[in-house]
Symmetry: C2
Subunit: 186 residues, 2 copies
Amino acid sequence: MAKTVLVPIAEGTEELEAVSIIDTLRRAGAQVTVASVMDALQAKAARGVRLVADKLIVDCVGETYDAIVLPGGIPGAEHLRDSQALIDLLRQQRDAGRIYAAICASPGVVFQHHDLIGDKKATSYPGYSEDFRNKEAIAERVVVDGNCVTSQGPGTAIEFALTLIEIMFNADLARNVAEGMLASRA
Amino acid sequence: MAKTVLVPIAEGTEELEAVSIIDTLRRAGAQVTVASVMDALQAKAARGVRLVADKLIVDCVGETYDAIVLPGGIPGAEHLRDSQALIDLLRQQRDAGRIYAAICASPGVVFQHHDLIGDKKATSYPGYSEDFRNKEAIAERVVVDGNCVTSQGPGTAIEFALTLIEIMFNADLARNVAEGMLASRA
C-alpha cells in the first residue's frame, strides 16, 4: 500500500519548502495530499506563488497519514498554528507514533506553541527555536528524534524530504531520488 | 527601476524548478511574471502541484524583460517549445543581448531545438545535451556564456537562480539571499 503524506498549506506558506516536500516525496512514490487550512483551496504563498490544494484540511479529519509534514513561511506557519483541525491531527499523529515533521518557522510557531516537541531534539529557522526545551540540535539542518523530524529553511528542504524518504521507505530509495534530482545529498 | 523576469510555465512543468526560480529571484527584489503558455492560467505541474500563473504568455507579447527563465520538466518543456509567443520573445531576448536562461530539459528541448544556443557553452539535465554544438560544459551544474544561462535540474535550481541574481544584480545580494534561504552556495 502506498505511503500517505499530508502537507498542509496556507496563505503565506513558504512555497519553495512546500513544493520541495511535495515534489520530492512524490518522486519516492508517496501519495501526498496537499490540504489548505484556509477557507479556499487556492492560497497565495509567501513569495506570491499561487498554489491550489487538493482538498481542505477539514475534509482530512478522520483520515490517517503515515506522515504529516509542515512547510514554514510567515504568516503561513501562524495559519497552521491556528487550525484546530490540523492541531488535532498532529496530536493524534504524535500520540500514535507516526511521523510529524516541520521546517523553517513551523517547528517553533506550530510544534513548540502546541507543546508537540516536548524534550525531543529539534531544529528550526534561526530565531524560531528560543523556546525549545532541548536546544542540543538547533543548529543542525535536519534533525530526527523518534517520530519528530524538523529542518531549517528553503535551502534545507530537499534534504529534509530525502530524510523523510529514508525513514518512511529506505536509504536506497532516498539515494535514487536524490540522484534523479541532482541533489547534492546522496 | 525593478529588474523584470518572465518565467513561463505549462502543464507538466517541473514545479520545484519553477518555484525555486520564482521564489529566489523575488527574494532579490526582482519583479517576476509567471506566464502560462497554455490556454488557462492554472497548470498541473510534473509532480501534480497545481500552480496559477499571473497571466497568459500571449499577454506578454510586446513586453520586455531583463531575463526570461525557463523551468524544465516533461511535457512542460515541450509545451514551452511549441509556444510561438514564447519563442518569439526568446529570439528577441537573445538578439538584444538580454538574459535568456533554462534548466533541466529546457536547454535541449527548447533552446537547442530552436537553435538559440549556437556555439555557446551550455548544460542541461543529463541526456538533453546530445545535440549541443559545444559540449564543453555539459557536466557543469550552472553555466553562463554571455547572456545564455543554463543549469541541470531540481537540485541545481537554487544555485541557478542565485547565479542569475549575481549577474542581474551583484554578488553581495546573491550571497545575502543564499544566506537567508540557508542555501549551501554562499
